[in-house]
Symmetry: C2
Subunit: 363 residues, 2 copies
C-alpha cells in the first residue's frame, strides 16, 4: 500500500507535513507542560506519541475510555479527565490504572466528589464554570468543594475551567478581553481552592493564553483541534494547517453535479457541511456527498449569469470529475469526524506512510 | 445486567415493544418481498433477524461491508447493494460471497458496469435518477446501460430509483402526486431496461407506495428508518413509534441548566439537535448535552414572564434533574446515530432484555 489510489474509500487521511507544522508551531508557543494536549480531538495514541515527541507529557481526556487507553499505552505521566463522571464502577476501572499512571479527575459537585472518593480516585481538580453553560461549579462554590474533597481524602491539585464560548470569534480584541475576564474568575476561584494547577483554554484562544500567561495565572492550556484542524477553526486565521481530510471516490456524475462516497456517517456534521476545494458542496447523505461540477468561483457568479451569458459560464465550468477519480473532503468539525473512523492513513501528498488506529473510540 | 440503571452511559437503547409495533405495522402494509428493508438504518444483523421473522427475506444495503456482513450472517436470499461502487477489489470481495448469497449491485454508468463485470458480479439493477440530485443515470440512458450490462455478461434484474427529495413533506397530497410522477419516470425507464424488479421508496412515502402499487408498478419498497424512527420522521404522522434513544447520565447541574453525557459523538447531528422529552435542549458538545431545567411548556411562556411574574415561573419549573439520574435522548436522525455505537441494548421500560452488536459498521 504505497499510494492513496490503492486505499478503499471513504477513509481518513492525515497529512504528515501539516501535522508536524501544527505540532511544532504549538509547542513553540506553549512548550512542554504549558500545553496539556486534548486527546478527544484525535482519539489516537499514535498521534499522542507525536505530541510527546514535541515535548508534551501531560494529556487531557474527555472519557474514561480515553484515560484508560492512554494509561495502558504508556502515556501515564499525568492524565487529566476534564469531565465529570458519577459512575463509580467506571471510576473504579480508572482508579485501577493509578499504579501505572497519574490520574486526575475533574469534579464540580458533592455527587462527583463522592463518586471519585468511593472509587478510590486519588487526585482531583475543581471544575469551575467560567461562562459556558455546561459543566463546572459556580465560582463562589469552588472553595467549599475543595474543602469537601480534601475531607474525603482526595488530593486537590487546583482548578480547571473551559471558556468554550470564547473559542471562535470574529472580533479578536473582544475575544482577548473576554478571555482575560474569564481567567480572572478562574484565578479567584483558584485562590479559594489552592493547589498548583490552573487549567483552561483551547485552540481558538491559545494565543491569548500564550501571550498573557503572566497576567492570567493559567498554568496549562487544553488545546486539541490545533493538531488536525477543521474548516470551523480555519476561519480564525490561526497559524495551523489543515491536516485531516476524508478521501472519497467519485461514484456517479451528471452534467451539473457529481457524487462521492463520503457521507455523513464519515463526517462530523454538527458544524455544517464539509468542504471540497474548488467545488461547491450541495448536501450530504448517509454515504454520499453531492457537489456541483462548477468551480466555486463560477458558482459565486451565478447571480450574473444573465449578463455573462450561459456560454461563458459553461466555458468556465470545471472539468466534470470522472467516475473513479478521488477527492478529498475537509470536515467542518474534526473531533466527531475522527470518532467515526477506526483508523487514519498518514500521508505525504499521495504517498501513504503509515496506518494509525483510532484506538480510543467509544466510552 | 437487568436494569438500564446498571448500564454505563452513553449507550443506545431500543424499545422492543416500539420496534415490534413498527415491524408489524410495516409488514402488514408491505408484506414479504414487497418490502426490501434497508439495513443502513440499523447496521445490525440481530435487527435484520427480527425483520426476517416478520416475513422479509430480501434486504437493501448501502455499503460493501453491509452486504458482506449480511451474507456471512445468513441473510443471503436476495441482497441488493443500492449504491454505486467502482472499486473492483472491493467488488471482488463481494462477488466471492455469491456462492452463498444472491448478490445484486446497482449501476448507473459505463464505469460502474465495467467495475461490476470485471469483479465477477453476476446481477445488477440499473439505478435511475428520478429527481434527487444524487446517483442514478438519466432516465433516457437506462436502456442503453442495460444493453451494455448484458453485453458484459451481467444479468439485469430491473431498475431502482430513490425519490429521497420526496420523503419528508408537510403537504402529503403534493407528496403523493410527486411520488406518482417520479414512479412514472421510473416505470418508463423500466420498460426500456427489462427485468422484473422496480425498486423505490422509503419510510416517508411508504404508504403512497402501499396504496398505489397497481398504479406505480413498483415491486418493492426500500424503507429502513421505520424500524427505529427519529424526530425528523416523527413529524410526518406516520404510524411508527420512537424505538431508539440514547441513554445518558446527568453529570452536572446549575440553576437554569443540566448537563448529561450524551454528546455529538453519540448522536447523528446532520438533522439538528436531539430531543429530551419535557425539556428544552440548548446545545450539544462532543460529550455533553446541555438542556434547560425548565419544562418545555414553561420555556414556551418565556415571552410572558413579565406578566406572569418570576415567582409563578419558578413555581412551574420542573424539578432540577439530580446529578446521577438518567435521561433518554431522542436522536434527530437514526441512521448515523446507529453507526456511532458498537452495540445497542434491547429494553422494555427500564428492563434490559438483550445486547445487540451493531456489526455492520464501517465500509
Amino acid at each position: 500500500m504505497h499510494s492513496i489510489h490503492d486505499l478503499p474509500t471513504p477513509t481518513a487521511l492525515v497529512d504528515v507535513d501539516a501535522l508536524e507544522h501544527n505540532l511544532a508551531t504549538m509547542s513553540a508557543r506553549l512548550p512542554g507542560a504549558l500545553l496539556r494536549p486534548h486527546v478527544k480531538a484525535h482519539k489516537s495514541t499514535a498521534l499522542a506519541e507525536m505530541q510527546r515527541r514535541h515535548g508534551h507529557r501531560t494529556f487531557t481526556c474527555a472519557t474514561v475510555r480515553e484515560m484508560i487507553g492512554m494509561a495502558r499505552a504508556g502515556f501515564g505521566d499525568d492524565l487529566l479527565l476534564a469531565n465529570e463522571v458519577v459512575d463509580v464502577e467506571r471510576l473504579r476501572e480508572l482508579a485501577a490504572e493509578q499504579d501505572r499512571a497519574m490520574i486526575t479527575v475533574a469534579v464540580d459537585s458533592d455527587a462527583t466528589i463522592d463518586a471519585a472518593a468511593r472509587a478510590g480516585i486519588r487526585h482531583v481538580l475543581i471544575d469551575v464554570n467560567i461562562g459556558l453553560p455546561r459543566c463546572g461549579c459556580a465560582p463562589h462554590d469552588a472553595g467549599r468543594l475543595a474543602d469537601l474533597a480534601r475531607s474525603r481524602g482526595l488530593v486537590v491539585r487546583g482548578v480547571m475551567g473551559y471558556e468554550g464560548h470564547l473559542m471562535v470569534s470574529d472580533d479578536r480584541t473582544a475575544q482577548q478581553r473576554d478571555t482575560l475576564a474569564a481567567m480572572q474568575v478562574l484565578r479567584e476561584a483558584a485562590s479559594q481552592v489552592g493547589g498548583e494547577i490552573i487549567s483552561a483554554g483551547g485552540t481558538g484562544n491559545h494565543d491569548v493564553h500564550a501571550e498573557h500567561r503572566g497576567k492570567t495565572g493559567v498554568t496549562e492550556v487544553q488545546a486539541g483541534s490545533y493538531a488536525l484542524m477543521d474548516t470551523y477553526y480555519s476561519t480564525l486565521g490561526l497559524p495551523f494547517h489543515q491536516a485531516l481530510s476524508i478521501l472519497g471516490t467519485v461514484v456517479s456524475t451528471q452534467e451539473k453535479w457529481a457524487v462521492a462516497d463520503v457521507g455523513l456517517k464519515s463526517l462530523g456534521m454538527d458544524h455544517g457541511n464539509p468542504t471540497i476545494e474548488g467545488h461547491k458542496v450541495w448536501f450530504c447523505s448517509d454515504e454520499h456527498i453531492t457537489f456541483a461540477t462548477e468551480k466555486v468561483d463560477d458558482c459565486a457568479r451565478d447571480g450574473d449569469s444573465t449578463r455573462d451569458g450561459d456560454a461563458a459560464r459553461l466555458a468556465a465550468r470545471a472539468p466534470q470529475p470522472a467516475v473513479g477519480s478521488q477527492i478529498r473532503v475537509i470536515p467542518a468539525h474534526v473531533d466527531p469526524t475522527m470518532a467515526m473512523h477506526d483508523h487514519v492513513w498518514l500521508v505525504r501528498g499521495d504517498q501513504v506512510l503509515d496506518r494509525w488506529p483510532i484506538d480510543l473510540r467509544g466510552w
